[in-house]
């Protein structure tokens, strides 16, 4: 057990998997010099298994698919989260569908890494998206680790998974410090209860887990908040949600993607379907406004979920 920064935990997970399994390889733009800080030292340690790609996201994503079908376990790093859009067909229409379309003849064990996803004050319209909802909607296993331990353990699980797995590493999490035990395995699937409480269930993902925890502490003498870290946008751990909402009867969902048809909508909708009779108050979502990220930080702050909005939603739900 050591204290590690999230970013370091992520890099260590990749390093450990590269060392453990010679079929793991690492592809992306400027990864040899490790522009995004995930692949430092990898190229020297594993010459030939770390490749700087041309600026060809669609092709190198498909390249990873083919390498995976041929026995490798590629990790693909995207320099910006919205590069997902450039490679979209190759992920959602190809890699993700091939196994079913071939009737199980092949596996596509590729890990897509999006380090520094989400907004980071001032990156504006094309560098601030946090597009995990899009992949969840398409059935892609989609992880958003919140803690250094999860950055380590979930990334290892992603690399070892035999399906395409996307991992978003929120910009707001990268500098966080926390305990990391490299012996701990975190499987893809189960959520984590980060704080137990009896009054309101808050489901969050990525950096919003920490916002939720901070607000929960602030409100501790008024409301006893349970905070669930979903860990994965897809698959979602309905079991843990059900257990919690059955007790609290109140649900707030935090989501860093556009509100309309966002990930929080899925959680809220399922609650309205399956947990209706347990709900004692309307479900509340706190999500991004449906708008491209405006550049000015003052505007950015106005459209992303913040503690004020989270606090208001929790209080409103607790009192309703």
């Amino acid at each position: 057990m050591t204290v590690m920064r999230y970013q370091k935990a992520l890099a260590t997970a990749v390093r450990d998997e590269m060392a453990a399994d010679p079929s793991v390889c690492y592809l992306g733009e400027d990864v040899v010099h490790s522009l995004r800080g995930v692949s430092s030292g990898l190229a020297a340690a594993h010459p030939g298994r770390v490749k700087d790609t041309p600026i060809s996201e669609a092709a190198f994503t498909g390249f990873a698919t083919g390498a995976a079908m041929a026995g490798m376990r590629p990790i693909v790093e995207y320099q910006i989260p919205t590069l997902l859009y450039v490679a979209f067909d190759q992920i959602v229409n190809q890699a993700q569908k091939i196994r079913l379309m071939t009737g199980g003849q092949t596996r596509v064990p590729v890990t897509y890494l999006f380090p520094g996803s989400g907004a980071r004050l001032g990156l504006a319209g094309q560098h601030s998206d946090h597009p995990y909802t899009l992949l969840a909607h398409m059935g892609v296993k989609t992880l958003v680790p919140a803690t250094p331990q999860d950055a380590y353990s979930l990334v290892r699980s992603a690399i070892r998974d035999d399906d395409p797995v996307a991992v978003f590493l929120p910009a707001n999490c990268l500098p966080r410090k926390g305990d990391v035990d490299v012996a701990v395995t975190v499987p893809i699937g189960p959520a984590a209860i980060r704080r137990e409480g009896t009054d309101v269930t808050v489901v969050a993902i990525g950096h919003l887990v920490h916002e939720a925890l901070a607000v929960a502490d602030d409100l501790a003498d008024q409301v006893d908040v349970e905070v669930i870290d979903a860990r994965a946008a897809h698959p979602f751990d309905w079991h843990t949600l059900t257990r919690s909402v059955t007790r609290t009867g109140r649900l707030v969902v935090l989501d860093d993607t556009n509100r309309t048809c966002g990930w929080a909508a899925e959680v809220a909708a399922t609650a309205a379907e399956e947990l209706f009779h347990h709900l004692r108050a309307p479900v509340r979502r706190v999500a991004r406004a449906d708008v491209p990220m405006p550049f000015a930080p003052v505007l950015e702050r106005a459209v992303v979920p913040d503690r004020e909005a989270i606090t208001a939603a929790i209080l409103e739900t607790a009192k309703a």
């Binding site: 092709a59 498909g62 698919t65 083919g66 079913l100």
Partner: protein
């Protein structure tokens, strides 16, 4: 090609042709659902190209994929079964014409999206020489696996394929780009969509290029052997510009639309160069009698008839298996979603 090779090529081409003619019948009889794109007229390309491949080589195919798949040696019975959506299909009825694959033969699948399969071929080619991948380079620097990406003249305007040209050239991947230049993308003539020929474009990416008469199986085979050897021996990727023609519509349904984008004369001109007739003529030159050819044709006919019988006898998948094969590593929660429908 020697006589044996040429006979084998003839058999393959006849098999593809008869397979496709049968497909048309089955589509029109509603025994095959969906849309299929026939390979009729282009048989020499897949046949010549696949004849040059070794057992570990990989290919990626297109929407017009039957020829590549049969040409590579997939079982026509399982292929029919796939097209007919049966459990014994290559893909257990999950893929159909546009996604048929036989990964055990290195066929990484037909593809419904133009150009999209080519990068898989590049990745597989790389894996053949990458540390940790299944195939280490052999000691003489020849790689175990060469990949072939098939695609049409229309595909060469698609970004992902262009990017793949570049990737292959920059990384000197052991792969062959096999352009089936049949002159049209659906109704659109190649010349309307590009100012240059496929060869000129490929040259501009640094690929080794050769133009090939795609109606002549021996010419294709010779070029393919050169190309595969070029790639396998580490001299980098190759682009073959195979000039050919499809004798029929873009897909089985085209005739219902009454499109008029090719003249009758043009079609007849190319039909006059039927690649199968050409091989038959050559085989006669090699001393085969008409009766020998008739016997070969007969064998193919029996093979295809048996294949259809096999396919028809195969069961439809059970509705409850609709989510099967979705994940290689299912998780508790992905599995339970099914119940939520």
């Amino acid at each position: 090609m020697d006589t044996t090779e040429l006979i084998r090529a003839y058999q393959t081409m006849r098999t593809i042709r008869l397979f496709e003619e049968t497909v048309v019948t089955l589509v029109n009889a509603n025994e095959i659902p969906g849309v299929t794109h026939e390979y009729i007229g282009q048989e020499a390309v897949a046949t010549g190209m696949c004849a040059a491949l070794g057992p570990d080589d990989v290919l990626t195919s297109t929407h017009r994929g039957h020829g590549h798949i049969i040409g590579r040696g997939a079982d026509p019975g399982r292929m029919f079964a796939e097209l007919m959506a049966r459990v014994d299909g290559l893909n257990h009825g999950r893929g159909g014409s546009m996604h048929a694959a036989d990964v055990s033969l290195g066929i990484y699948g037909a593809n419904g999206i133009v150009g999209a399969g080519a990068p898989f071929a590049a990745g597989a080619a790389w894996a053949s020489g990458a540390p940790g991948a299944a195939g280490e380079p052999t000691t003489d620097r020849r790689v175990r696996r060469v990949s072939v990406a098939f695609f049409g003249d229309g595909a060469i305007n698609q970004g992902v394929l262009l990017e793949t040209f570049n990737l292959a050239a920059a990384w000197e991947l052991p792969m062959v780009f096999c352009c089936e230049n049949n002159g049209y993308a659906v109704t659109t003539p190649a010349a309307a969509s590009a100012k240059v020929t496929p060869s000129e474009r490929a040259t501009g990416f640094g690929l080794a290029v050769r133009e090939v008469d795609g109606m002549d199986v021996e010419a294709v085979y010779e070029a393919a052997q050169w190309a595969v050897d070029h790639a396998r021996s580490g001299r980098g990727p190759v682009f073959l510009d195979c000039r050919c023609y499809r004798f029929v519509g873009h897909n089985t349904g085209e005739h219902m639309l009454g499109l008029q984008y090719r003249t009758h004369d043009e079609i007849e001109l190319w039909r006059g160069r039927d690649p199968i007739t050409a091989v038959a003529d050559r085989l006669r030159g090699h001393g085969l009698a008409d009766a020998d050819l008739a016997r070969l044709d007969d064998e193919v006919q029996q093979h295809i008839d048996a294949a259809v019988t096999f396919a028809r006898a195969s069961a439809s998948p059970e509705p409850a298996t609709a989510m099967d094969y979705m994940y290689a590593t299912p998780t508790l929660t992905t599995a339970t979603r099914w119940g939520h429908r």
